[in-house]
Amino acid sequence: MYKYDHYDQSIVDARVAEFRDQVERRLAGEITEDQFKPLRLQNGLYLQLHAYMLRVAIPYGTLNSGQMKMLAHIARTYDRDYGHFTTRQNIQYNWIQLDQTPDLLADLASVEMHAIQTSGNCIRNISSDQYAGAAADEVTDPRPWAELLRQWSTFHPEFAHLPRKFKFAVIASKEDRAAMRLHDIGIQLVRNDAGELGARFFVGGGMGRTPMIGPMVRDFVAADDLVSYAEACLRVYNRYGRRDNKYKARIKILVHELGKDEYIRQVEAEFEHIKTLNLDPPKAELERITAFFQDPDYDILASDDLDLCDPDFALWVEQNVKTHKQSGYAIVTISLKPIGGIPGDASSAQIDIMADLAKKYSFDELRVTHAQNIVLPHVKKSDLYALWQKLDEAGLATPNLDLISDIIACPGLDYCSLANARSIPVAQKIAQRFSDISKQKLLGELKLKISGCINACGHHHAGHIGILGVDRKGVENYQLSLGGSGAEDVSLAKITGPGFDEDGIVDAVEKATNVYLKEREGDERFVDTYRRVGMAPFKEALYD
């Protein structure tokens, strides 16, 4: 994992001191809320429905057990004993006091963490593949590149006041576990026919009120040019992105309105110009960063044998344990989706336990996934049973990864001031309706995603089944969508028709799954069947 150098630490410490002064001035009435709001947002502090909410950055979703312990400490000391892992691989705290925020940020800084660029019209926390460095199918570890982009984008003066927020995802596998093409810039690291490392660039993806899949703008950018090319993409956006209407200010609108070809033409011209300026970071810097992401000290004699005689353990292994690139090891996903629980929430005690287990069983490393789960990336197979027992004791061994109860849900109207409807109660009711694990297994991979408003933090556009909560004359109503995907088979879900009330949407989901069970052929997943048969049989079941 990356370790801060003197510069990193100085930057973060200075920001804490600066914010401490700003908070003191605000509490003393020396600055107004209008003056203070952009300052607190630049430090991740929002004013939400019930209180201040702090969003803490977890760069590319990677953290060590010491950092995870600090997240538990913050939940206990400054919040109400829990945190919420988000679809941006971050964590949010819902009950922060303004006067305590500087001390909180100082605690975070002591473990090389911060809340910078988790809000505002800047380049946000870079997201990545939660299996990075462990996946068997990656061409390289994407995290050094994500870290390089993090350093390049942090406080980059040219990109501190973009037309709108800006999200990067970096992956290095054919399998897309990061919803890469639904980001403002999606970077897929690849090797060309000569075996050279480079990147495919996809620009102009996103969800929100105008969902778009990012088109590919370059099929190979040489690795040495990656930062320059990203800079060119952003410069064109910064120059021509709309600032008169926030709903049309994202880069996806610019790419759409200019047309992909014209956008590419302008980016290529800008890229040629940038190349004359020698702005790319020195190779030595990438090498310095890459050195932090070496493989852990695997036991190369570790066995692949597993005793699966305990059926509950076998079920968990089958669902939540994935193939590791190193024989004798496995990737473990800890589900934060217990049946009837709140997706992504974890108590301070659970966060502590996950930190301890990472230290003991996963080379001190954890990942946060955009699906609001936690990954232990490097677990020796011979340790899996002991690990599972400890997770089970802590209520963290739900065997539902990628099943219908592994629901992505935004905080919704229970916490968010932007929301129009509650998301979490719907997620809880659906999970309870499908609580029978054999029923879930029968349905197979089924990604259900719920957003409480059109901003789509719950990724409903990318759900095999998507649900959008809307406000219909002061009453919560839920639109059902089918056929979306955030994976390598990326697609946008389509609305089935009129919405449903809270109980009706649960029934509607069940009806949709019944259509799938009736219509599916062979090993088809829900989304495969939908794509083959189309919307008609689903609409018939839902509305006739």
Partner: protein, 98 residues
């Protein structure tokens, strides 16, 4: 009735105008009637609360009730965490919100 609400500057908690001060309990809120805008202006000057605004409400069982579900959730707390609401011992509290 008209209610005046905002978030406390220091804690961020939801607050309601009581006639003289702010309270986190909506039961303490008063009908600000036509005076809402003037109170709002004065309170913005005082900088004790953030993002104050006036909402419509009605009186149910002798207590003010916000007209919109968003403000009813604000008044109670997250419906999915009854232990964190202002009425953790009232089993029916959430039903009154929704």
């Amino acid at each position: 009735m008209k209610l005046l609400t905002g978030n406390d500057l220091k804690s961020g908690l939801v607050t309601w105008w009581t006639g003289k001060n702010w309270s986190i309990n909506i039961e303490d809120a008063i009908d600000v009637g036509e005076d809402g805008a003037a109170i709002l202006a004065a309170e913005q000057e005082a900088q004790r609360v953030n993002s104050a605004y006036i909402i419509d409400g009605d009186e149910t069982s002798g207590a003010p009730r916000p007209g919109h579900i968003k403000d009813r959730v604000r008044a109670l707390g997250p419906t999915v965490r009854p232990d964190l609401t202002l009425k953790p011992n009232d089993a029916n509290a959430i039903d009154k919100v929704v």
